[in-house]
């Protein structure tokens, strides 16, 4: 169970990205964070694995205080938290397999990994991860030779290498063609359903929220304005979260199986 308590983040520029945000995530949930661009979704996700240092507040994960962990403890916590990014964040010039293996760095022998030496198990694990997202045949291609959707699948394979208990997905489909959104989210859903991985995912499109979320947290200007089930977001709530001028746009007209 992940408990966010009174989380606040103020950037050095004075921008208040998060203001006193608290909520809980039970194990096995698919929690979706919604809100306008700049509402604090990315900051919230990055505070959980402390890619961004919170200004105040606590984050407790099964009673481990992530916010109090030292550098060594933090690396051990981070390696159990997979992360998927809007821009995929692959090393474009490296091979797909190298990108996937880099997900294993938290477990690998530090010296061997610096020399690029990986154990046989790790290599097998990387191939299995690529098979799971359906691009094992691309293992030796350069990452930038792949399409956007394929690159995001590499990103998921990299997260799989961490054997994560929690996956943070920061707008994983926002840079993709809308028709690819479901294919990516279905991989996350499968991880959530079959492997029991908790997923915290920020999303833009409401129809995707309704389709995948088990629960929703909405942010507006860094403040939590809604927490509840997806079906509770009606027109009035929608206007509340996104403002009076907002109109709902659907990610896809066609539901993919």
């Amino acid at each position: 169970m992940l408990r966010i308590e009174n989380l606040t983040k103020v950037y050095p520029t004075g921008t208040v990205a998060l203001k006193d945000v608290s909520f809980q995530v039970e194990d096995g949930e698919f929690l979706v964070v919604i809100g306008l661009s700049g509402s604090g979704k990315s900051t919230l996700l990055r505070c959980i694995n402390r890619l961004i240092e919170p200004t105040s507040g606590r984050i407790l994960w099964d009673d481990i205080d992530i916010t109090a962990a030292n550098a060594q403890q933090l690396r051990l916590i981070r390696r159990q938290i997979g992360m998927v990014f809007q821009q995929f964040n692959l090393v474009k010039r490296s091979k797909v397999i190298t990108n996937v293996l880099s997900g294993r760095l938290g477990y690998a022998n530090p010296w061997a990994s610096l020399l690029g030496i990986w154990s046989h198990e790790d290599r097998q694990r990387a191939m299995q991860a690529l098979e799971r997202v359906g691009i094992a045949d691309k293992a030796n291609n350069r990452a930038d030779a792949l399409s956007g959707g394929q690159q995001q699948r590499v990103g998921i394979a990299r997260a799989l290498m961490q054997e994560p208990r929690l996956i943070l997905a920061d707008e994983p489909v926002a840079s993709l063609d809308p028709v690819l959104a479901h294919s990516i989210l279905q991989y996350l859903e499968a991880l959530n359903r079959t492997d029991g991985v908790t997923v915290i995912c920020s999303l833009h499109f409401l129809d995707l929220v309704h389709r995948y979320a088990t629960r929703v947290v909405a942010l507006k200007d860094g403040v939590k304005v809604f927490e509840g089930l997806p079906k509770e977001i009606d027109r009035a709530r929608f206007k509340e979260i996104y403002g009076e001028e907002a109109e709902e746009v659907r990610a896809t007209a066609v539901e993919v199986g």
Partner: protein, 464 residues
């Protein structure tokens, strides 16, 4: 804009005439009084800088410019709030700066055309670069002569390969005449006569000892010549030394070979390429660790690393600002003449220049992969290895190749101060006035630079 106007409009109501009078006393004061503080300061700076420049230069005609600017400043006040056109002031100021600059630099375009004679004396030999020469067969015969006479001097006669040379008297002192007869030379053939010092230095015997004395042997292969023993060669009155009189016959053979100067050029360009290569390689190796310390995105994390970053940056900036040529002068003093000081100078300069460029590459990389690898629980070294290095390798390689290119060119000038390579020879030839060798060096350098440029461009194109 609307805010500005709201603030300044009550002040703009102040009389333009009073403002103009104020500006007449002190440029810019009127504008400031009207509330246009920045404009007032700017006008003051423009007028005062123009005045200071003309006073410093001290030519009366140029005072017209600050005077005109002063008037422009008054006009500016009268036309507030729109003000006088700024371009008028700009043209006045720039024409002064450019005009005085022209005179200070003593630009004299006519000088380029006036000294046609001098130019021709350089350009004519340069049209015939001394790189290859007709194949020659040099035969030299010589005889020993004592300077000054010992108590019992040996006979000054020698026979080599059937050629007998006799000098008379057997020993001489400086300034005396000496008669040389030779028999058995190749008949009807130009023969160079030279005076050779005990250390092997060759002194020419033509006009003022500045030209080669060349005589033809007669039909029987005999040659007789009388000359004065050159002044200024005698070590001391008592110390007896063996000098030699040398007769050289140069036979031209069919075909061509690389001339002696051409061989120096080849040796020089080889040295230049080698020292540039070594300096680049060593400089790149040294620049690598420094560049990581001088990259803001890696070092900006906490006050300690940030202060290391500032130190590294300062170090790079200081050494980059010193020309390799200046460094070479210093290293020549420390380690002596030759390619080694040149290499040291280039290495230091390359380290600083590449360190700066490398660190800029590091600062420009995509932060996304770094974030992603950090999120996997990787440590700092692993982040650098997996997220930073793959992103920077192509740019680093391209920059290093480009630097080698630059170093080849700058190592030619480093030779001028004794740093070895072709520049060292080139400098000697310029001093000696051997413009045929100079032009041959120019051509060789140009060819090498063009070839290097071509290949480095090809290589860099492959990397992206």
């Amino acid at each position: 804009m609307s805010v500005n106007q709201a603030v300044s409009s009550p002040k703009a109501a102040r009389s333009p005439l009073v403002a103009a009078l104020l500006s007449l006393v002190i440029p810019g004061l009127g504008q400031a009084w009207q509330g246009h503080l920045a404009r007032g300061g700017g006008v003051f700076a423009v007028v005062v800088s123009a005045l200071a420049t003309t006073i410093w230069y001290g030519h009366a005609t140029w005072y017209i410019i600050p005077a005109a600017l002063w008037l422009w400043n008054v006009w500016d006040c009268l036309r507030m709030p729109a003000g006088a056109p700024a371009w008028a002031a700009a043209i006045l100021w720039l024409s002064m700066a450019y005009g005085i600059g022209w005179q200070v630099t003593e630009i004299n375009l006519l000088a380029l055309a006036q000294n046609g004679e001098r130019a021709a004396s350089i350009l004519r030999p340069m049209m015939r670069p001394d790189f290859i020469t007709k194949r020659q067969n040099r035969t030299q015969y010589s005889v020993r002569v004592q300077v000054p006479c010992s108590t019992n001097p040996p006979r000054a006669q020698a026979t080599i390969n059937g050629v007998t040379i006799t000098a008379s008297p057997d020993c001489v002192t400086v300034g005396e005449n000496i008669l040389v007869t030779a028999r058995g030379l190749q008949p009807n053939f130009p023969t160079e006569v030279t005076w050779v010092t005990p250390t092997g230095g060759v002194i020419m015997l033509g006009e003022n000892n500045a030209k080669m004395l060349t005589l033809n042997s007669d039909e029987q292969g005999n040659l007789t010549v009388m000359f004065t023993v050159p002044t200024g060669i005698q070590a001391s009155e008592e110390f007896v030394q063996d000098y030699r009189i040398a007769l050289t016959q140069v036979e031209t053979l069919p075909g061509y070979e690389i001339s002696p100067n051409g061989r120096y050029i080849l040796q020089g360009i080889y040295e230049t390429l080698a020292l540039a290569l070594l300096a680049t390689a060593l400089g790149a190796v040294l620049a690598l660790p420094i560049s990581f310390l001088a990259a803001r995105n890696l070092m900006g994390g906490n006050p300690l690393t940030y202060s290391i970053y500032v130190l590294a940056r300062t170090f790079l900036n200081i050494f980059r600002s010193i020309e390799a040529l200046i460094l070479a002068i210093i290293f020549v003093i420390i380690v002596g003449l030759g390619p080694f000081p040149g290499m040291l100078a280039l290495t230091v300069h390359t380290t600083a220049a590449l360190g700066k460029l490398y660190s800029e590459v590091i600062e420009g990389i995509d932060p996304g992969p770094i974030e992603a690898v950090r999120a996997t629980g990787a440590n700092w070294a692993q982040i650098v290895r997996f997220a930073v290095i793959p992103q920077i390798v192509p740019s680093f390689t391209a920059l290093t190749i480009y630097r080698w290119d630059i170093n080849v060119r700058s190592s030619t000038t480093i030779g001028f101060v004794g740093g070895g390579g072709i520049g060292f020879f080139l400098w000697q030839w310029i001093l000696l006035g051997d413009y045929r060798a100079v032009s041959a060096s120019f051509i060789t350098i140009a060819v090498v630079v063009i070839i290097m440029d071509f290949f480095s461009a090809q290589l860099r194109a492959q990397l992206h």
